[in-house]
């Protein structure tokens, strides 16, 4: 009834594939898509709750263009010419906003349905390597090659009443080498935890690379904030140390991360291997039948994760099989299957429990740059009767080409506020922009679903 599919892209092969992770069958493919690591974003369908993916946004590796695909055709649905080449891209979980990062450390935020450029600002000193929206869309987390991780409140970022450069809500600078991946945990902004992975230079001597778990738990914050600002007038670095939970040291630079849906364990790709790191471990049972479970790390401690090589005890926690560095990781819905894409042009499907590779997808003709896993969109179901039935519900996400410039104030006034008209749930989506001239609150533009 439900099928889980993987969407894999490559940085050299212009075809992206949508395939069944359990059978390997290819259901669908996108043409002319050349996108690098972190340059693929999935946006949900507006009208449907949950994880039905409606749009695929791909920042092209070789030019300043974002391709937007929908499930109705394998060609580009909308082609957006961007002011700069984007190296990474993210779509908010409700599909309203899209953020893109550039080589120079700039972040652009667009409204997907109108294509309006809402904000562009200098976020980092170097290339933005990864962007993620917090799971309740209240914040945008950006990681960069300048080794910093910034957390931006979306309400500040998009605040149109001030033109000042936004300041990050948090700024974590515990890493010392480029950030390679970020995972936002479940929950609202108040409770979520964030996992950041990096290639960390300071540990080069010991040939170790660190992985941080920062705690995006705001509860620790206000206290420190007030106190520190009053007392020490300190920089934000002090704040950041207050919330760092655990640092994991892995034997290879981390290139990709995946977090178990229940946050019991995470997977970190380093080199050709994937390491599984359990966040809880069972202590040796001293008495018969009584093993104690304890949390790993915490309190900003540093946990070393031993490499697989030559260490039989820990080798159990390593997934081996790729012959080139791994670029991206994804977990299936229940976290029982792990997918890893690699520069060796393959995508492997692993059984998490046994750590065996159960399938290898080899259709890509070049290094695979990203893999993502989700439920199969109904639009890609077989044609024929099914297609007729889906005609009524053939929803497309409203999308306009991204603008290259911010709107002037007058234009903004004319255009007004986005508005989603509730109504025919199964209707086709369409989109029109309108302005009601005049007063401050009475402007609307419509995003009709």
């Amino acid at each position: 009834m439900f099928t889980e599919v993987a969407l894999t892209t490559s940085a050299t092969d212009p075809t992206s594939y949508l395939w069944d992770i359990r059978s390997g069958t290819v259901f669908f493919s996108f043409k002319q898509n050349v996108c690098g690591k972190g340059a693929l974003a999935l946006a949900p369908l507006h009208a449907t709750p949950g994880n039905r993916i409606g749009l695929v946004l791909a920042a092209q590796a070789d030019k300043a263009i974002v391709h937007i695909y929908s499930w109705h055709k394998d060609q580009v649905h909308v082609k957006c010419i961007c002011p700069e080449k984007l190296v990474t891209i993210a779509a908010s979980n409700r599909g309203t906003y899209c953020a893109g990062g550039t080589e120079a450390g700039k972040i652009y935020v667009w409204e997907i349905s109108t294509g309006n450029l809402l904000r562009s600002f200098d976020a980092h000193y170097k290339r933005v390597s990864v962007l993620r929206f917090a799971s309740d869309d209240s914040a945008l987390v950006s990681g960069s090659e300048d080794a910093g991780v910034n957390v931006w409140l979306l309400s500040n970022l998009l605040d149109n009443s001030s033109d000042d450069a936004p300041t990050p809500y948090y700024s974590w600078s515990d890493h010392t080498l480029p950030i390679s991946d970020i995972v936002c945990g479940v929950g609202s902004f108040r409770t979520a935890r964030v996992l950041t992975g990096s290639l960390d230079h300071t540990c080069k001597v010991s040939d170790s690379f660190t992985l941080f778990i920062g705690l995006l738990c705001t509860s620790t914050f206000p206290l420190f904030q007030t106190v520190f600002f009053q007392k020490l007038n300190s920089n934000i670095w002090d704040l950041a140390t207050g919330i760092l939970l655990t640092t994991f040291l892995l034997p290879y630079p981390i290139t990709a991360l995946a977090l178990d849906p229940a946050e019991r364990t995470f997977f970190a790709a380093g080199g050709n291997l994937v390491y599984q790191v359990d966040l809880y471990r069972r202590r040796e049972a001293r008495n018969y039948g009584s093993g104690e479970v304890e949390a790993v790390g915490g309190s900003g401690r540093v946990e070393g994760i031993e490499g697989g090589d030559g260490d039989p005890g820990e080798a159990r926690l390593v997934f081996r099989g790729h012959s080139a560095p791994i670029t991206s990781l994804a977990l299936s819905l229940d976290g029982s299957l792990l997918l890893s894409s690699s520069d060796d042009a393959t995508v492997a499907v692993w059984d998490v429990v046994s750590r065996q590779s159960i399938r290898t997808f080899v259709q890509h003709r070049g290094p695979v740059s990203s893999v993502s896993c989700f439920l199969r969109p109904p639009e890609t179901a077989a044609a024929g009767i099914g297609a007729v039935q889906h005609k009524g519900s053939a929803a497309t996400v409203v999308v306009q080409p991204f603008r290259r410039m911010r709107k002037t104030e007058a234009e903004e006034r004319d255009e007004g506020v986005g508005m989603r008209i509730a109504g025919n749930v199964e209707a086709r989506a369409s989109f029109v922009l309108f302005g009601i001239p005049g007063g401050s609150l009475e402007w609307f533009s419509i995003c009709l679903t």
Binding site: L154, P222, L223, L245, G297, G392, G423
Partner: protein, 783 residues
């Protein structure tokens, strides 16, 4: 015969029985009908599949569906209106229960029903069809067409032929106003038939508008020809002139909001924007007339087009009520057109400033205030932490004002005698009321914001805590927590009154807020947990079932905190908290003087009384002792505990152990209490408090704690929160415990004996808490 077949057999027999016994006579069908319908619905008689009946093969076992359909058709053409009506209802039941029946008979039933609608005067009867038949037919047809939505064949054969007729006949019937508002639900019809055959407006609900909405939503293209007429129809109910049934206005606005579907993919957005634009324009026109005496500073409004509305009389006496009504309806229409989603995030600052301005400008208009609160809840839900960040402090100040402790007027008298505070009510009673009067009628003087406002405020507070519990400053947190706890305790002590609906509702809301506070602790405020656990366990024995179930649910949640399933990942050792907190405290101490003065100026009472002795370990049933003081001290204790690197969950452990073994800590506790002597400097108190013993503080010399307790009770209501709103800024908040601690010495001593005796005399003259406020006032006045 298998069980299934047996059931099938029974069902067939039952249906046969119904057909032969109850539906046979047109004249009597109406009187039997409720029973028939109930039987069919209860047994789902019609949902037996026709396939199964062929399988059984036996003549008796097969469902008599053919007979059933024949009977329905003959009922439809009956001369008795009741029978026709019953026929329509049976069709509805049939298509609801059986897909096969629906498919088989759709065409014939459709045309039969349409003929009932269209002709208005059926073949043999010369009077028009009764309302109930029209109404049932419209509902049934609406369902029929709705079901064809995803079946292209049926759409081609049935919908495209019959739907236009249906639409036009609906529009024709709109002339009949009763049909716009008429009984529709089946249950109502039952009621109507069984009790009064006459039409009862009490059970009326609009029929045509929902049917129109459904039609336009499902089949926009077919609807297009009548869209304009339909819009006009909706607008006639928004002009304010009718004696508008709110239900009717509501359904008209909802229908209006769906009309933009008629535009189809291409132009529905244009339709929407046009309608919205004109609605706004119409509001402008109405307001121009209403407010024409007001000079506008600037003519910034661009010209809006407006809908044509009937002109109103030049006499304002006649015109204004209509216009007000019109503005109201139009606003409702605009509301129904709008939605809130995260496209609005860029304008969040504008929203929040408008909301805050509304709150501050309408200090005394409770309805405005409470509706603003509802809006705030919505915004908090939609925009989360961003909204909290923008509005937190001013919003909290407003909230704390509205959910303050119930205040007693008599408290104001003393305040009046002592200082000339600006309360209007004081002036009235200044001269004539003596203290004994105040005592005698104290109960009637309890003053607190209205229920509506309080409930709305608690809703906001709950949402605020849930969304941004940690973004709230610790000082605000502690005042919120202590307010919640003391209000709950106060309610639980007020024996006689706590049963009424008002108190139950408030109590439930406070419990919800308390749970939110437990769930969203800021770093220092897991301290509320022990109190919360006590209160929730007490709440489990509450009279009201609602509160009981909520409390047991809350306890389950608390259980997850105190006995966590997974070991917690520890945090926050890199920055030791203890050095962090203490400077914060001393910092406040430094600022102490001015604040104290301010408080003294405002109200003497605020500095009296609360010595902070807290009958900690076991909450003696009569003691209401919660004040800022213990709250603050526990905060210190907990924060230190946290600093030691305890996992979050473990926060509870020390406290629970402390509750468990009061004896161990006793010496220290007494030490601490003895530390609160008149001339003790403040710092001493805070320091001694910041140790772990304070939350316990169990036994002290007999009369001492009780009297203090009483005094606290006396002061909490009047002095603590309500009067000190403006002093809720961070530094001031921290001050409160200290302020209470200091002057306690001067005023508390003479009062002790009296207060204590009150308590021990078992409410000799005064019913416990309620009188505490006045009591203490009397005391202060005596000297």
């Amino acid at each position: 015969m298998s069980l299934y077949h047996a059931q099938q057999f029974n069902a067939a027999r039952l249906l046969q029985n119904i057909l032969t016994n109850f539906l046979i006579d047109d004249a009597k069908v109406q009187s039997f009908f409720p029973f028939v319908l109930e039987t069919i619905i209860h047994h789902r008689l019609l949902s037996q599949s026709t396939d199964a009946s062929t399988v059984t093969g036996t003549a008796d076992g097969s469902m008599p569906f053919h007979k059933w359909c024949t009977r329905i058709n003959s009922l439809l053409h009956s001369k008795v209106s009741g029978a026709r009506w019953a026929g329509i209802c049976l069709i509805k039941v049939s298509i609801e229960q059986s897909h096969d029946l629906y498919l088989e008979n759709l065409g014939s039933w459709c045309s039969a029903l349409l003929s009932l609608l269209a002709v208005g005067i059926p073949n043999n009867v010369l009077k028009p069809e009764p309302l109930s038949i029209h109404e049932a037919a419209i509902n049934t047809l609406s369902i029929m067409f709705g079901k064809t939505q995803d079946k292209s064949e049926l759409q081609r054969e049935i919908t495209s032929i019959h739907l236009p007729k249906f639409n036009t006949s609906m529009m024709n019937l709109c002339a009949n106003r009763e049909l716009l508002v008429c009984p529709c639900a089946y249950a109502d019809m039952f009621f109507m038939i069984t009790t009064t055959p006459a039409y009862s407006p009490a059970h009326s609900q609009p029929t045509i508008f929902p049917a129109l909405s459904r039609s336009v939503t499902a089949f926009p293209t077919t609807f297009r020809p009548i869209a304009d007429n339909c819009k006009k129809l909706c607008l006639t109910f928004l002009d304010g002139a009718h004696d508008n049934n709110p239900l009717l206005v509501q359904s008209a606005t909802q229908c209006l909001a769906t009309l933009n579907h008629a535009g189809g993919k291409a132009s529905s957005a244009e339709l929407w924007i046009g309608t919205t634009n004109r609605l706004i324009g119409s509001v402008h026109v109405a307001l121009d007339r209403l407010l024409d005496s007001i000079e506008e500073e600037s003519k910034l409004m661009d010209t809006y087009q407006s809908f044509e509305m009937p002109p109103v009389s030049p006499d304002y006496v006649i015109a204004f009520p209509i216009l007000f009504n019109r503005v109201n309806s139009l606003n409702e229409a605009i509301c129904s057109m709008l939605s809130a989603n995260d496209h609005l995030v860029p304008h969040l600052r504008l929203f929040s400033s408008i909301l805050l301005r509304l709150l501050s400008q309408n200090r005394n208009r409770r309805s405005v205030r409470s509706s603003v609160y509802h809006l705030v809840v919505l915004c908090l839900e939609k925009f989360g932490i961003g909204m909290v960040e923008m509005t937190c402090n001013p919003l909290l100040n407003a909230l704390l004002e509205d959910i303050r402790m119930p205040e007693r007027k008599s408290a104001a008298i003393t305040a009046n005698l002592r200082t000339s505070s600006g309360k209007k009510s004081n002036k009235k009673r200044k001269a004539e009321l003596t203290n004994s009067d105040a005592l005698a009628v104290a109960d009637t003087f309890i003053e607190s914001p209205t229920l509506e406002l309080q409930v709305a405020a608690f809703e906001v507070l709950k949402q605020l805590l849930m969304v941004g519990g940690s973004a709230i400053t610790p000082s605000h947190r502690s005042s919120i927590d202590s307010l919640l706890i003391s209000r709950l305790l106060l309610l639980s002590q007020g024996m006689s009154k706590s049963d009424d609906q008002y108190h139950l509702l408030i109590k439930l809301k406070i419990y919800e807020c308390l749970l939110a506070s437990v769930l969203a602790p800021s770093e220092t405020q897991a301290s509320v947990l022990p109190y919360a656990l006590r209160l929730f366990s007490a709440g489990q024995n509450e009279q009201s079932g609602q509160i009981r179930s909520f409390c047991s649910q809350a306890l389950t949640i608390c259980d997850l905190i105190i006995h966590s399933r997974l070991p917690p990942i520890q945090r926050s050792v890199t920055i030791p908290i203890s050095p962090v907190y203490v400077p914060g405290f001393t910092l406040v101490t430094g600022e102490r003087e001015p604040v104290t003065e301010a408080m003294d100026e405002n109200d003497e009472r605020s500095t009296s009384g609360t010595t902070g002795a807290f009958g900690g370990s076991s909450f003696p049933p009569t003691s209401l002792a919660v004040s800022h003081k213990p709250q603050a001290t526990i905060v210190t204790g907990f924060s230190q505990q946290v600093s030691a690197g305890m996992p979050v969950v473990a926060l509870v452990a020390p406290s629970s152990s402390a509750w468990g073994k009061p004896q161990e800590v006793l010496p220290e506790a007494t030490l601490a209490s003895s530390a609160i002597t008149p001339e003790k400097p403040l710092s001493t108190i805070t320091e001694s408090k910041s140790e772990w013993q304070t939350p316990v503080e169990p036994k002290k010399p007999k009369d001492d704690p009780e009297s203090r307790v009483i005094e606290e009770m006396a002061t909490i209501p009047a002095a603590q929160l309500p009067t000190k709103l403006d002093s809720y800024s961070e530094s001031n908040k921290r001050m409160i415990p200290e302020d209470f601690a200091e002057p306690s010495s001067s005023s508390s001593r003479p009062r002790q004996t009296r207060a204590a005796s009150d308590d021990e005399d078992e409410d000799f003259e005064i019913p416990e808490i309620d009188m505490e406020g006045p009591d203490s006032d009397v005391e202060t006045d005596d000297p």
